[in-house]
Symmetry: D3
Subunit: 330 residues, 6 copies
């Protein structure tokens, strides 16, 4: 352990309890309480681009500035362990007035290359009505916000850029799979894929961590997405006078049905090939995100993660590769 | 059997096989086929305001005019019975050029009194925003169409005026039940009740019998209803500049959640008291319609109807009343 | 915070950690344990007519008398907070020998007015058999106990008088809704509503808090209710010789089917209109109790309660009223 | 085909279409209708102790006497086949005035030996309270009726004596299995087993075929059984003054919980070992009845029966025995 | 209708009732029965590479040869219609002794190009253990049988070559999607995809139509597939002494889990990324086959197919394309 | 409390907090963490043949030797209580080098008598093929391992010898129940019963406590059992050339279907009587194990255990016996 810091959250998690550590982190959650023997305690969840970790702040910690969600801090403390989870006991905290961007979680993939791919996908559409709709929705202003949105509060792609990353991935999967089914209308499919989660821009507020908006909970991103499409088509009709009615219904149907079944929140189920393909690929990409991340889980034993209550299963972490030597019994 | 005709469908159903019958009826469904021995057969389902019945037309029947769905006919034939269901064998059919209105199924309750009650309910709302929204949606033109709409293709209130009848009933139930829960906002509740099935105007086409529209199947009446509310609120905001955002979300939420759970097609579940009350009363009224009609079912035995596959149960037809004499064993 | 006490539980919950507090409360639950460093700790749940709160008693607390469930105590302590829930750290506790009645949770509505309404409902029944049955069951002695019973251990109407409150509410809802369905036999419906939860008198023991009896768990209130009806009808038949058999079966059926489906513990499902209406109104009243209480929940954020595991949802706490100013964006 | 008749139903089913046949049978169901070309048709289901078969009666059939459910007839006709099911076309039918007993379906096992076994089981109980309860319920009169009752309308043990056969089998299974679990109270278990379906005496009316009674459908055999136990215990208490309360609750619980889960109509689930064991053995015996009968099904192919909608599966009919020669591939 | 024949099944289905028709077809199913008036009737289902159709054979039809499943016949008859389905009434049938190959249903895609693609996929695998396993399983002899196998009895890819077509399609989908998830081991994934339904070779017997084998029903294709892998790995280990144990378990796991959940027959659920991806793509390809075929369904109306009981939905048949003119309302 | 030790785990659980205790125990689980005030803490779960208990080890405890899972220790400490569960605070721990066998949990029944019964069951089989298969599988070596295996990780029979105990019990239950169903092939049934959980030998690793193997989780004991049967039948065929194919399929089917339904992990459901009987008895024995143990649960109140999340129910602990005095009200 030559390196003396600063450390990232990911590095902290693998350090020996007792080690002194320091670094710069964002406050993601803050809770205050009093210990059984009457001392003031603050529990923080802090994070950076690499990971998240818990911090406990006792009343003997020196604090400079106001601790609030979304604040960037410099932290000095000791690595510890509480209920088998890594935890830092803070000694000194200082609120920093720096650009927080480098500390926010990001897609693995470079955002700029995703934006280029997004533009190429838009350009690949030849149907003039579909093209017009996408242009009307993805104005420069909307794009800017879209590229910074999250695809979820938890579970998958839950960081700025996550919505773009997920959208590009689903669109790619749809485009490539469609080659197997010549009947599929590629332009219609691409439109559905690019627009399927557009309502998530209204479902979440992106501060430092995503949170549901009131309309996100009362109305939901599926209907919010349809409302954006409604507005755009109304504008097109008002301006140029033309948008095919059945195309309108089919695109709305693809948004409405993309969760695949009523019990997962789609008020209608997919009724034509493009809608079904979109639903499957949305589901695939969200779950593959989880599967691929679980492989690196520190919890669990050598071979399996702990049981995950949300997914109702464990995950197998072992990766078979050729240089594997073992050929005997386990 | 003094009366020699014309007979209503309801009367036909209770007549002895072999009797000669006649009357005026609407054609509700028509299917043509060839019998095993090569003869042309036409199967009709006909109906009037009282009920529906099956007709078989052999190639020796004299037919004047073109038999089509929605056509009014004069029919002379013989009562028969096929697979234990009443059926008329046609001898003579003549297409009539008369007003079909008297032959279309109607609510049990007088439509005009329902319309008066509808107006009173509208008048009872004092919140200006809610009042404005309802006025904007229920224009004279829309009311005219609304009063003729159906609440379903099958199952319950499936005839012109059925949507009004169901809407009034649900609104009454909500209004009366709310007295038990002082916290409930009556204006909000009434708005939700009056608007909850407004999307059914777009879900069905009302010819002589209701049929789904393409948007009814691809989008569904729940979302279609929200779109009508969107349009109205946009108009209000454009014209007068004001409509509370949270009120908008709550009314949309009431429409979206009125089926009560995801598996019944609501993309969100009821999250506040008015939304939950509306859901329960909608469900109650639809099913009470069925329970009350089942009591008069001719099928089944003295005490129970046949098993109904849609509802997954039999119904008990016996009605206890005081003049009941029996006090011994069954 | 001029007022210096005594405080109610509800008041305690809104006080600043660190404040000294005092008041009179009932002990609802008591658990003893030893802390990690070997000190004796007692955890209490205390309550009064307003609410419930947790208390921690360390070994340095001065205690006079024996702490037991159902005991009334005078308590002096400091407000604190543990795992984000309000908690009192006790300094002095004294067991009091006073009437505990004022400290027991009650219906919001005045019990006496409920009793008057109960009598009116009984008086409104004109069918002599049904009247006789209700009189036989609701003897003076039974009424006295019935008026003090609870409708549940947790969840809804879980306090003395709760069974009466729930019964009156369901009966009112049934009576008012029945106006929409002329076929419904009002006397039969009222009988079912007044009797539907009568078995809960045997299902729970009402000490200070409700607890299940052995027959409550082995047999259940639905069957226990039918047994009370059996006994009453046997008595009527023995005394006067007459009670219609089908009426007996229909009333039993209404009790047995009022949970609406097998998976909710009804061995038969509702088969006639009165039974179905009763089931729906029972369900409505139980859940509206929860919805209306959740609006005042202190947990959660400004708009939504925390996720409730029992109901599988969050609740929207915001109440729209006319004096609402906001019309802009959220 | 030397034998010229009379034939049993079972024999008819294996005869070549076109053969002339005759025999004596009971009418189990009768339906009348008119054919498409106007001829009167009667469809009968007839049966005897061996099996059931369909009969079609055209208007050219000679009929002596009144054809009604439960009537014994002499029938002459021709074997045929309709929709792949064996069917007799009647030529001559004569109503007979003979004892119908030999023609009613019976258990495979001799009823008298079952009755002896029932008595031995009763005698094996040593607990005086349990013994008293069983004696009080199984009076001579009740036994007589019990020995003639059916265990079901369809599916399993659906014939006079079937209830006894099923009860004995379940009691035997319970008794033998209990040896593995020393903690089990054998007397309590036997009581539960002997009484578990006693309510079926009230659920069905046994004419020639079983039919539901009104209380069977409105109340159900589980509650009807508990009512018989109530009556008996009340009598015991009135006469001798003593019956342990917890024993009463446990026996009722065993009856109430013997379907094992709420969705199969038990209002409570088994909570102690004897109740659980009884539930499992009741389920086992009912389904083994079906499995063993399915092996002889004529429908389906060499190895498998047709798909059975009620059980949601096919059944494998092949029986492996030692003299099996095949050892190669299938 | 210049063309006078021979006609294909597909052509027959669109012809006017009454037209005389002829052609060569395979007998797929045969049932014999007697009509109500005593005449012998044979019902056939016949088919060719294009489609299937029903035939009714009355006793006045001239028949040369023995009618049996799988026989090729020349048929002359009249087009008719029974219960709204096209049906041929046979006049003359002659059993033919010709090669039946041209009359058997085939994949849309050319089998030879599929075989070439299969070889390329095999060649693309570089991991020596995985390559060895695939070579061991896909011997020349197995390939020959594999290329002629069906992927199902009904529902999807249910014809010779269907298993190959489905396998190639799933493998393609997996390979292309994996590009999005760099962590995925392509060789492992391809092995799983190529082998996932290998057990179907043992589950079905391919005569003219597929039928389940006894092991298909008692053991199932998932386990039968694992047994083929077991045999191959045992052979490899016996011959060369080496196969990595974890690789063995992972490949077996992919076969076992490819139905995705226990209720669809997988005894384990997918636990690592390759297994999950394979499951999703298998599901996608099977259902896209259905969606794409449904678009051409003759049943239903202009926009929607009839309700499909197996899939629990209707399908939208309209295909949006650019030359679509309509822009007004529906 | 005369006795001064050594104590068993069972004895510890009933001792007063504060008492000094000592004894010899196995370490079953070990977790290390740091307390909030920075002290090192070790949490142990220890056990012996009688029960299990928690131990907390503070940094002031004297420890001799290395604490590891499976180690036998001598422990001196004080009884305490944490979160209402008994817990020992360790003062002195010494690792012991003794035979651990006496401290491992065992079946209640003597293993040797189970082994004798196992041999008798094997000897009772007369069918030569079935006998040969059992002999081939249960070699001396396999038996030795089989007799030491566990039937589960948790829930039931989860200790060395548990698999034998469960297997014998299921086989006995099957054998005795089969007497009621003469059609059942006893040899086939016994083979299925003796082999049904044979795959559990591969599913678990038995160290001191059972743990899943990788193949246990990726493949599962049901398939692992079929693989053992495959191997044995292959050996038999190679050596003697003969084993009936259908018998092979039926035995595999019994193993595969013994969980009874797809959602419980059987890829096929029982299709013949022996398979169904085996499934029911396996289920019965596993659950009776739980029911009988729950009666002795210390948790819960006088009559009922606490709610068990795994089984979704409480259990009634009261055992009715004749010397019961109570006859009044509860």
């Amino acid at each position: 352990m030559e390196k003396k810091g600063p450390f990232t959250c990911k590095e902290l998690k693998s350090m020996t309890p007792g080690t002194q550590v320091w670094g710069k982190f964002l406050i993601l959650e803050k809770n205050q309480r009093r210990s059984k023997d009457g001392r003031e305690i603050i529990n923080l969840k802090i994070g950076d681009a690499s990971d998240e970790i818990d911090v406990v702040v006792w009343d003997n910690c020196s604090i400079t500035g106001e601790l609030e969600n979304g604040t960037l801090i410099g932290l000095l403390g000791d690595m510890g362990n509480y209920n088998n989870r890594a935890q830092v006991t803070a000694r000194r905290i200082k609120v920093l007035d720096e650009d927080i961007t480098p500390y926010i979680k990001k897609p693995d993939i470079d955002i700029d290359s995703l934006i280029i791919e997004f533009r190429e996908m838009m350009a690949a559409i030849s149907d003039p009505y579909i093209k017009a709709l996408l242009e009307k929705i993805f104005t420069e202003e909307t794009r800017e916000e879209f590229f910074k949105s999250t695809a979820a509060k938890k579970v998958h792609h839950n960081y700025p850029g996550g919505l773009l990353e997920h959208t590009i991935s689903v669109t790619r999967l749809c485009r490539d799979a469609a080659v197997n089914y010549p009947m599929v209308n590629q332009d219609l499919l691409l439109a559905g894929a690019l627009l399927h989660d557009i309502g998530k821009m209204d479902e979440y507020e992106m501060k430092v961590v995503a949170d549901y908006t009131v309309e996100g909970k009362l109305v939901g991103h599926i209907i919010l997405g349809v409302e954006r499409i409604n507005t755009a088509i109304n504008d097109i009709r008002r301006e140029s006078g033309e948008f095919p009615v059945k195309l309108e219904l089919m695109i709305k149907h693809m948004i409405l049905s993309h969760h695949g079944s009523l019990e997962f929140g789609s008020p209608v189920i997919p009724l034509f090939p493009e809608a079904f393909l979109l639903h499957m690929m949305d589901n695939l990409d969200a779950k593959m995100f989880v599967f691929c991340n679980k492989v690196n889980d520190e919890d669990g034993d050598e071979h399996f993660t702990n049981y995950d209550n949300f997914f109702g299963q464990q995950f197998f972490k072992y990766r078979y590769t050729l240089d594997e030597e073992e050929t005997g019994c386990l």
